[in-house]
Symmetry: none
Subunit: 407 residues, 2 copies
Amino acid sequence: MDTLKNLIKKNDSKILLIVLDGIGDLPLKDGKTPLETAKTPNLDTLAKKSALGLHIPVDYGITPGSGPGHLGIFGYDPLKINIGRGVLEALGAGFELKETDVAIRGNFATVKYENGIPIVVDRRAGRIPTEENKRLIKNLSENISQIEDAQIILKSGMEHRFVAVFRFPHLVSSEVETINDTDPQAIGKPPLKPLGKGEMAEKVSRIAEIFSQKVAELLKNEPKANYVLLRGFSVKPNLETFEERFGLKAGCIATYPMYKGLASLVGMKIIDFEGMDIKDEIKTLKREWQNFDFIFLHIKKTDSSGEDGNFDMKTKIIEEFDSFLPEILALNPSVLCITGDHSTPCLLKAHSWHPVPVLIYSPYVLGNTSIRFTERECLKGELGIFYAYKLMPLLLAHAGRLKKYGA
Amino acid sequence: MDTLKNLIKKNDSKILLIVLDGIGDLPLKDGKTPLETAKTPNLDTLAKKSALGLHIPVDYGITPGSGPGHLGIFGYDPLKINIGRGVLEALGAGFELKETDVAIRGNFATVKYENGIPIVVDRRAGRIPTEENKRLIKNLSENISQIEDAQIILKSGMEHRFVAVFRFPHLVSSEVETINDTDPQAIGKPPLKPLGKGEMAEKVSRIAEIFSQKVAELLKNEPKANYVLLRGFSVKPNLETFEERFGLKAGCIATYPMYKGLASLVGMKIIDFEGMDIKDEIKTLKREWQNFDFIFLHIKKTDSSGEDGNFDMKTKIIEEFDSFLPEILALNPSVLCITGDHSTPCLLKAHSWHPVPVLIYSPYVLGNTSIRFTERECLKGELGIFYAYKLMPLLLAHAGRLKKYGA
């Protein structure tokens, strides 16, 4: 990576990275994928004069979560960087994590007591309704705000899930990631004691244990959610920022907390705006275009429709995106890249390992290899199949932002 | 590799890996390769609905032997694992190597004596007939069965070649691989003394020296084969098994000792059966299908016909294999992969570095990229060109045997 860093140069170019989350797919209707089915006259025209290919988000056969998927296209090798489960949950819940935070994923659980010892009888408290979760978190928040010097911040998730952040007045180290989950991963067993290696991990473990006991006391009369299990103790990873790594002042336009969170991890500025639709994002893009060297624009609904197995919806979202392409191109980006963070085939209703279509539009491409932006047409493209974390160097090169290597 | 290991999950899927040894080739007749020339209606149909690509067995430009070739498709980076020459010869000769064995490749040689010092005059003893080799090995075996605490086991190979195994009552370490060959690699020079670094290597060197002297004494009146040169002192590499690495109960169906030996190195169960033909292997496949998660079926004759430069024979073997494809598909494998361990172009009459066609058949592929399973059609496929050791993660993914990486 230092090689690349030494080659970075600055200029006035503007790079736009549009991520259609989960865009890659498999044939499901008439042997076609959603990208192949969608009517995309604008994308078709663009594809003919662009460099096309497919990226492998993490590695061959590896299905990425959203964290590794985005790290890759942001230019960070996802096999070398760990984003803890707690941190990812916190980002997804919209926490703005600080370097003094320990993030933890919590599950409400049901225990019974045998000789005073709690025994787990349901690790998910019967998947209590989210509304009940909110009532419990409100109660806990009012009664547990501080343990030792840690401020305790709680946020409800769906059903039995919540996020706990222990906010300290001092920095916390990744040492706390040695702390084990308290979830025994089986019923009929007592919850595990949190134990970690090192002074700070011991302190956080102690606080977690006190927290668990206070919760148990406060919830002892609840019929289902009378205990909490804690998982994925983690701290915000200390990543080089986009500015440090690529010399880019970068902004993020996204509707979901998770993606804003991931972008903020690499130091992108999160751009505020109203609305949840593509049109709102495009409007924001136009408004902010002059303020950044690099904008990451995230479109969520391609992924959610894939997760739902809703082929027609995914196709429709692609067509909707296509209709905004003229407005996007009118901004005249030096480099426009359209891709996804991973595939989400409707057939699988889940993320998958399949390579993801990539389009790079710039004056410095071969082009004319393919007639559309689809999985199969991208196979014919000049970029071939490459690891996602190689995308950023390609975008920098097409933007004239990389010096020659060696003489 | 630990990343992959942490993602392994088990299910009831069944993976079939068929290796057509040396399948890749170059155009020789009418500008076509054997795969392009062969009439393969069944493979053609399958290719259209499969994921295709080519694998690079070891690295760009590197021609693999059978050892590295198979390690790669078994999911082990062949650049990171050394299989000693002695071990490979022993596997090829059908030895079931133990962890207490030192395997050595031997060559019968001719020496003359000058002032009592042996001087090599023919490093291969005039390539004596294999029958003569057998007579000599019988003689040596009867007269040298033990040196110090090592049991001496000898087995004839072709012409001047044989395998020696020193079997100890204790474990041997890879330290013995520091022992130099005794072959001086030139005529007119005395054989070298075996010398190794470390206590155990010194012991094995001493035994090897005693062995050489005993042989010289026993063969002193032979006109040609009156000495032995020893090469490739090595021990069975300690590889993670298929079960440990991939969570797969794996079986091997192969006709030649070398491939059974390689499969046993990674802990596959070697399935016994009668016969040497493809039909015998397919019959065995059907019989054993329910007993394994993963079966490696090795077909040898594509390689031997390539080595012989016999284009028509190689074409015929491919057609013969094609005729069995309906029976194979009737087993309904979750994932079927057809590939080779390397290319053996008839033009070269030898292994080569050329990428090897790969076909993966599963419900989770794009397909429809190519019309046949040939070198050139595989270039159009969705798998691209990838390192052989990435094949196993792909097969696991297509079998639903890998969890998501990160959240």
